[in-house]
């Protein structure tokens, strides 16, 4: 984890680390101790990964109260020590018995771990917030972005085991921005092109991007372990498997998850997902076609008042969202808000969106879900 820590603490890579940001979604921060007897017992599954580490960071930033916290990971990582909120923890091996007495488990250890251990945790009464794609399209499992569709999880209560799925990072970042516009004008069709960071492929991918960049600058051949091709000073189609329809899995997540989250089987979405040599925040170019007209000034006002959104749209100084500026930030930044010249009247808009993939795209969204349970 050495160079992940380096990446995280080098603001030139990945943006400044906020000093306890105001948690916008849940209102003003409460003054309280995080460790409380009447607070829930938490488990973090996959705690040594990039998102697992971010779970801890977000729990702390948001003063999330807990009675106890279990640090769970694979056998390989078991025994490692983690200091969190001035207490020392030992990482425990994830087993079926890990969930006794656990109220909320935050999973980010890949789909196969979620499929194996998620239902076991539910059987023990745990509410699982799962960051993998394992259950996202399961009709019985709510797929939730708190700013977008909190109603989807209204029947889930602490103390009764249940699964809640965290959407794909690109979907979350896109829909935090697009949903306020969708509510006003109804999106009929959306064409998305992504600019995705290394972090989406995990801590090792971030390390590989850094290592490759050093190698290329020294004239050496780049080390390609995580990705099959050079990433430094290059970009490539997302490394997810390509399906028979020619879309890759990442793109199909955006297509299908949008329909489920908006509860709209008819919304038409196409996406082209590309990895760019950026460390931890995604960008997305989003073209929207509406059922009802929506002019750009109204759209800007709607976005300025939308939860989880910050508008950065200064045409004069050419200041718009960048991955670096949103890194380690909670909000999704939206800019380049303009009437789409290729559509009649005000039937369409182009926007450009950036969001921290590890934070709002994963850990923060999951913890906002957990906050709604309390």
């Amino acid at each position: 984890m050495a160079s992940l820590s380096l990446s995280r603490h080098n603001p030139l890579f990945s943006g400044p680390i906020p000093n306890r940001p105001r948690p916008r979604f849940s209102g003003p921060a409460k003054i309280r101790m995080s460790l409380q007897e009447n607070a829930p017992s938490i488990a973090v599954v996959g705690v040594t990964g990039a998102v697992g580490q971010e779970f801890l960071s977000v729990l702390s930033d948001r003063d999330f109260s807990y009675r106890s916290i279990k640090m769970l990971a694979s056998k390989r990582s078991a025994g490692r020590r983690i200091t969190f909120e001035d207490r020392d923890y030992v990482v425990e091996e994830l087993t079926p018995e890990s969930f006794g007495g656990v109220d909320i488990a935050l999973f980010s250890a890949g789909g196969s771990i979620s499929r194996e251990f998620g239902p076991l945790a539910v059987d023990r009464g745990t509410v699982v917030v799962d960051n993998s794609s394992a259950f996202r399209m399961d009709e019985k499992v709510p797929l939730v972005i708190p700013e977008v569709n909190p109603e989807a999880m209204q029947n889930i209560k602490l103390g009764k085991g249940a699964l809640i799925a965290n959407p794909n990072c690109s979907t979350i970042i896109c829909l935090v921005a697009a949903t306020p516009l969708h509510r006003r004008a109804k999106v009929l069709r959306m064409v998305v092109s992504t600019y995705q960071a290394a972090s989406g492929a995990g801590a090792a991918a971030m390390e590989e991007l850094e290592l490759q960049t050093r190698e290329v600058l020294e004239g050496k051949s780049p080390t390609c372990k995580i990705f099959s091709q050079q990433y430094a000073f290059n970009l490539f189609s997302h490394n997810a498997s390509v399906l028979s329809n020619g879309y890759n899995e990442e793109e199909m997540k955006m297509v299908k998850e949008t329909r489920k989250i908006w509860n709209d089987k008819d919304v038409k979405v196409t996406a082209t997902c590309i990895r760019v040599p950026v460390m931890r925040a995604h960008a997305e170019s989003v073209n929207l076609q509406f059922e009802r007209p929506l002019d750009e000034d109204t759209a800007r006002d709607i976005l300025k008042n939308a939860p989880g959104v910050v508008v950065i749209d200064d045409r004069e100084s050419n200041h718009f969202p960048t991955p670096l500026e949103v890194s380690n930030k909670d909000d999704v930044a939206v800019g380049r808000i303009r009437r789409d010249l290729s559509q009649d009247g005000n039937q369409g808009l182009d926007i450009f969106v950036c969001g921290d993939q590890i934070r709002k795209g994963a850990a923060l969204n999951a913890i906002q879900i957990a906050e709604m349970l309390l």
Copy 2:
């Protein structure tokens, strides 16, 4: 120019340099000496810039014959020595008198130089192929991509002064790929998101990207001279001025130049132009809506047989076009060819396109235009 040379000769940055590639557009390479008495007299304006240097490289690669060649640049660069095809040249200061006896002048020295010296050269009987945006939208000036609209310059003859405009790099790369599909199915609307390399902002921008990357890896603040913000491990909306309609000038070039090149005032285009930390080739995600249905297999066959296009579309091994793979190459690479799920039947396609910005996006296209004059 030291670090530009470094960039150019480090294949890890900018792709392998081809060893005299087969010039696809003009047919098999002719066996001949480049220096010939009955060949045209050439001038290269802006010869010390990134595109100027590429003009020389492409002239040599294609065995372009010339009687003489003038190396022209600003006063600041005058006096510098250039060795080209085993002869030594001294860079001359560009003046109104530079064009006496010059048959073809290749301009890439910015719009204001083109506006001042282009008409002076034309008055002296020179055919000017101009890489700037100065004359592109002038109704009397043909805007030409040789693979797309060679007919636009059919009335221009060597020996009679005339202007021909080279389109914007993003437009060229997009239209080399889109035009064969347009001819078959007629494009009604095109939604483009670009991933543009440093080279589009010149040699100094490439140097800045390299310098910034070294600085960031050393934990130093990045030097921002060419761009107003950090470029290393980041991306941002294209640095061109933003107009009152919210589009930047680069985007409006794509909108307007496409209409002119296709001679189709009704084609609807929207574009979002983004700079990514890549050295010299652009990528573009292009969503197409057609008047007539066009299935993806037919589209792939059309593209495989299209001039200036290479199809890289291997879904099984996830091998698609990348900027690095097309760097220093003549052809535009197209992949991710798939039916757009957000449109009915076969009315739309998504494609992903990469092309060398300096080569096909600028120097090669201009020299192909010059070849058509001969």
